[in-house]
C-alpha cells in the first residue's frame, strides 16, 4: 500500500469513528453552518463534538502547517482528505473568512509574528473574520477606495466606510484595505491591515437583501485607532495582497454550489416535482432540454476545472484562468438556480413555510443572483480576460 493509500485508510477510519451521524446530513438551513468566533453558540451537541474533535486534529485547516495549528497535509493528502470528507457527506466543522481568505494571505504575505498570532486562533475557530474591501463608491473600481488610514505615532487612524462586509455584525476581526497614500496612483496607495471589530469607533449596520436575509453589512470607521503592527506586508503594497485574495475568492465562488443544491441532482429534483411521462422522461420537454444543456455545460466546466488544477500541479502557468472559471462558474450557478425554480413551481413561491425550510428555494435562488456580482462582476471578469488573455487593445 502506498503512503497515500495508507493515509486514506487512516483518515477514513478516524472520520468513521469520530464524525457524528448528525454531521453527515446536508445542512437544513444556513443557520446550521458553524462560523466559530467569540460570540459563537453551538446549536447542538453534535456540532460541538465534531468541532472539538476536528480542532484537536488540526483538520479544520488541513493544509496549513502544523506549527500554525493546521493539519500539515501535502496537496495530495489534502485531496484525499477532501474526498474522504465528501464520501460520508461530512459537514465542515467550522469555516469563515479566516480560513478561506485571511489564512492563505498570511501564509503568503504575513510576518512570522502575525502567522503565530492569528493562524492558530483561526484554526481553533476562536476568531471569526470578515473582509473589508468594497466601499459605496468603490465596487467594480475597487482600487478607487477612499477609507483612509493616517499614521499617528504607533497607530493608524482609520476613517471611512466599507460595504458588503460579510457578517461584519457577527465577526470579531476584519482584514481591510485602506488608503495610506492619497497622492499615489490609485493602486499604489493601498495597504492591507487587520483590526478588531471591538475597537472604539467601529460600527456596523446589516443590509437586507432581496432574499430577505442580511449576510452583508455596512461598516463605519470613525477615528479608529489600529496598531501599526497590524499592517500585513509592506506599506502601500496592499493591492498585491488584495489581488491575490480576489483570485482566491474567485476560485471559491466559481466552485460547486453550496446550499440546497449541494450534492443533489437537479434532474432528480425535477422528476420528483414535475413528474415523468409514460416513458419515464421528465414531463416537461422544454425544461428537460434546458436541464440537459445545463448538465452538459456543468460537466464540461468541471473538465476545465480539473484540467486547470492538473496543469497547475504540473507547474504550468494557468494565468488568468481564475477569471474564466469565476465568470463561467457563477453564470452556470445562476442558470442552475433558475432551472431549480422552474422545476419547483409553487414550492418556489413559498417564502415562510416548513416544507421549504423557510422559503429556501426562493431565497437561495435570489441569493444566487449575487454570484456574478461579488468578487468581481462577470463584466469585470470578461474585461480581465480581454486584456490579460486575449491582449485586446485598450480603449
Amino acid at each position: 500500500m502506498s503512503d497515500l493509500e495508507e493515509f486514506r485508510a487512516e483518515v477514513r477510519t478516524w472520520l468513521e469513528d469520530n464524525c457524528p451521524e448528525e454531521m453527515r446530513q446536508p445542512l437544513a438551513s444556513d443557520a446550521e453552518h458553524v462560523w466559530g468566533g467569540r460570540k459563537w453558540e453551538f446549536s447542538s451537541d453534535a456540532q460541538r463534538v465534531w468541532f472539538d474533535r476536528m480542532v484537536g486534529k488540526g483538520w479544520t485547516a488541513p493544509a496549513w502547517p502544523k506549527e500554525y495549528g493546521g493539519g500539515g497535509m501535502s496537496a495530495d493528502e489534502h485531496d484525499v482528505f477532501k474526498s474522504e470528507m465528501n464520501r460520508i457527506n461530512a459537514r465542515s466543522p467550522v469555516s469563515n473568512f479566516g480560513f478561506w481568505m485571511l489564512g492563505p494571505a498570511l501564509l503568503k504575505f504575513g510576518s512570522e509574528e502575525q502567522k503565530r498570532e492569528h493562524l492558530p486562533e483561526i484554526a481553533r475557530g476562536e476568531i471569526r473574520w470578515c473582509q473589508g474591501y468594497s466601499e459605496p463608491n468603490a465596487g467594480s473600481d475597487l482600487a478607487s477606495l477612499k477609507t483612509s488610514a493616517e499614521i499617528d505615532g504607533d497607530n493608524f487612524v482609520v476613517n471611512g466606510r466599507k460595504i458588503w462586509t460579510s457578517y461584519a455584525d457577527r465577526a470579531d476581526k476584519m482584514f481591510c484595505l485602506v488608503r495610506t497614500d492619497p497622492d499615489a496612483k490609485k493602486q499604489a496607495g493601498i495597504s492591507f491591515i487587520l483590526l478588531d471589530m471591538d475597537t472604539p469607533g467601529v460600527s456596523t449596520r446589516p443590509i437586507q437583501l432581496i432574499s430577505g436575509e442580511s449576510p452583508f453589512c455596512e461598516t463605519f470607521f470613525d477615528d479608529v485607532r489600529v496598531p501599526r503592527a497590524n499592517l500585513v506586508g509592506e506599506m502601500n503594497q496592499g493591492w498585491t495582497i488584495a489581488k491575490y485574495l480576489l483570485t482566491h475568492e474567485r476560485d471559491n465562488i466559481g466552485g460547486e454550489p453550496p446550499g440546497l443544491l449541494k450534492g443533489r441532482d437537479l434532474a432528480q429534483m425535477a422528476l420528483e416535482a414535475v413528474g415523468a411521462d409514460d416513458q419515464g422522461r421528465l414531463d416537461d420537454p422544454m425544461l428537460r432540454a434546458d436541464i440537459a444543456r445545463l448538465e452538459i455545460d456543468a460537466m464540461a466546466f468541471r473538465a476545465l476545472v480539473e484540467q486547470t488544477r492538473a496543469k497547475a500541479e504540473a507547474g504550468e502557468g494557468v494565468g488568468a484562468r481564475s477569471a474564466m472559471l469565476k465568470y463561467y462558474g457563477t453564470e452556470l450557478n445562476k442558470r442552475r438556480y433558475n432551472l431549480m425554480m422552474d422545476a419547483m413551481g409553487g414550492l418556489g413561491l413559498e417564502w415562510e413555510s416548513e416544507q421549504t425550510g423557510g422559503g429556501r428555494y426562493a431565497r437561495e435562488w435570489l441569493r444566487s443572483k449575487g454570484n456574478s456580482i461579488e468578487g468581481g462582476t462577470s463584466e469585470i471578469m470578461l474585461g480581465i480576460i480581454s486584456s490579460a488573455v486575449l491582449e485586446l487593445p485598450k480603449g
Binding site: 432540454a289 480539473e306 484540467q307 492538473a310 465568470y327 463561467y328
Partner: protein, 365 residues
C-alpha cells in the same frame, strides 16, 4: 486531463505536419475542380508516411495502436486547417469498425490497407437527413452463409473514394453492421457536392454481397462514439482557428480612429467565446480519455463533448463572420469556410440537439 509526453509529441508532430502540408488553397482548388481528387491527396500521403492513418490500427496490422486522445489531436488539426482527408472515415471509423467488429480474417484483409492508406473506408448508416442510427430500412438477407443487403444511405462521408463500406442494416429485427466492397455490382455511388467541400455521397445497395461485422456486440456504439468524439475535436480545432483569425482582425482593423478590439461590445463577446472554447476543448479531451479508459460514462461524456463543441464552433464561426463585418461575407476571406465546416461537422453523427437528448436519456430523465 492533460497530455502525456507521447501525446504531446504527437500533438507537435500533427501541428507541424498540417501547418506544412494543409492549406486553404487546396480546399479552394478541390472546390473548383482543380485538384486531382476530391480530397487532399498530398496531405493524405504525408499522413500515411507519418503513420497517422494507422493511428488506431493494432501494431500486428502495421498500425500504431494509439487511443482516441491521440487520434483526436490529429482531428483537431483537420478542423483547424480546414483539411480535406479521409482521416475520420478511414483512420477512425473504418479502423474502429473493422478492428472491433471484424473477425480475424476480415481484420487481416482490411486493417493493413487502412494503415497503409491504400484503402478508403466509408461509414454508411444514415438514411434520412437527420442522424437516427436506430432508424434503418436497409435490410440484410441471409441465405445460408451468403448475406446480401438492400437499401439507400445518405451522408456517406468519403463515399466517392471508398473501397469498402461499413453499412448498417436490419438483421434479426435490429440494426447490425456489415462490410460491403465498393466494387460489388450491387453498389451505386452518387457523389454529392457538400457545403464544406467534404467528400460525400448517397449510396444505393441492391442485393449487394455483404459480410457480417459481428465479432463484438458493442462495436456499433464504439463506432458512433469514436466518430462523435473525433468530430468534437475537429469542431474544437476549427473554433480555435476561426477565433485566432477573428482576434487578429480585431487588433488590426480600425474604425472611429481606434482598433475595433478596443470596443467593449466586442471585447466581452470575444472573451466569452474564448471561455466557451476552453471549456469545450477540456470536455472533448476528457471524453476521449474516458473512451480510452473504457469508463462507464464514456458515452455520456462524448455526447456532451459533441453537443458542446458543435454549439461552440457555430458561435465561433458566427462571431467570426459578424466581427469581420462585410469582409466576413466575402468568399475571398476564409472565414466562411469555417462556418460551412462547423455546420457540417455539427450535423454529422448527431447534432447538438440529438446529442443533448441522448445525454438526458442516458442520465435517466
Amino acid at each position: 486531463m492533460i497530455l502525456n509526453e507521447e501525446q504531446q509529441m504527437l500533438a507537435d508532430l500533427s501541428e507541424r505536419l498540417f501547418a506544412d502540408k494543409a492549406s486553404v488553397d487546396t480546399l479552394r482548388a478541390i472546390r473548383g475542380g482543380r485538384h486531382d481528387a476530391d480530397y487532399d491527396t498530398a496531405l493524405w500521403q504525408a499522413m500515411v508516411e507519418s503513420g497517422l492513418t494507422g493511428i488506431l490500427v493494432p501494431e500486428a496490422h502495421g498500425g500504431m495502436d494509439f487511443g482516441l486522445v491521440s487520434a483526436g489531436l490529429v482531428a483537431r488539426e483537420t478542423g483547424r486547417r480546414l483539411a480535406l482527408t479521409p482521416f475520420l472515415s478511414t483512420a477512425v471509423l473504418g479502423a474502429i469498425a473493422i478492428g472491433r467488429a471484424g473477425h480475424a480474417e476480415q481484420q487481416k484483409q482490411w486493417l493493413g490497407p487502412i494503415a497503409e492508406g491504400s484503402l478508403i473506408v466509408a461509414l454508411a448508416i444514415d438514411e434520412t437527413g437527420k442522424h437516427r442510427p436506430e432508424r434503418v430500412a436497409t435490410q440484410a438477407n441471409a441465405e445460408g452463409d451468403a448475406v446480401t443487403i438492400s437499401g439507400e444511405k445518405t451522408l456517406v462521408v468519403d463515399g466517392p473514394n471508398a473501397g469498402l463500406f461499413v453499412v448498417s442494416a436490419m438483421h434479426d429485427g435490429k440494426p447490425a453492421l456489415f462490410a460491403v466492397e465498393a466494387a460489388d455490382s450491387g453498389v451505386t455511388v452518387n457523389a454529392v457536392t457538400s457545403i464544406d467541400t467534404r467528400s460525400m455521397a448517397n449510396v444505393r445497395f441492391d442485393n449487394a454481397k455483404a459480410q457480417r461485422l459481428d465479432a463484438n456486440d458493442n462495436a456499433f456504439d464504439d463506432v458512433l462514439n469514436a466518430g462523435r468524439a473525433m468530430l468534437a475535436m475537429e469542431l474544437v480545432g476549427l473554433s480555435r482557428a476561426v477565433f485566432e483569425r477573428t482576434l487578429t482582425y480585431l487588433t488590426e482593423r480600425k474604425q472611429f480612429g481606434l482598433r475595433i478590439g478596443a470596443f467593449q461590445a466586442l471585447q466581452h463577446r470575444a472573451a466569452h467565446l474564448s471561455v466557451e472554447i476552453e471549456i469545450s476543448e477540456a470536455m472533448a479531451f476528457q471524453a476521449l480519455a474516458a473512451f480510452d479508459a473504457g469508463a462507464a460514462d464514456a458515452t455520456q461524456q462524448i455526447l456532451a463533448a459533441k453537443a458542446r463543441a458543435a454549439d461552440t464552433a457555430r458561435l465561433a464561426a458566427a462571431e467570426g463572420v459578424q466581427m469581420h463585418g462585410g469582409m466576413g461575407m466575402t468568399d475571398e476571406f476564409d472565414i466562411g469556410f469555417f462556418m460551412k465546416r462547423a455546420r457540417a461537422a455539427s450535423e454529422l453523427l448527431g447534432d447538438a440537439n440529438f446529442c443533448t437528448e441522448r445525454f438526458a436519456q442516458a442520465k435517466g430523465y
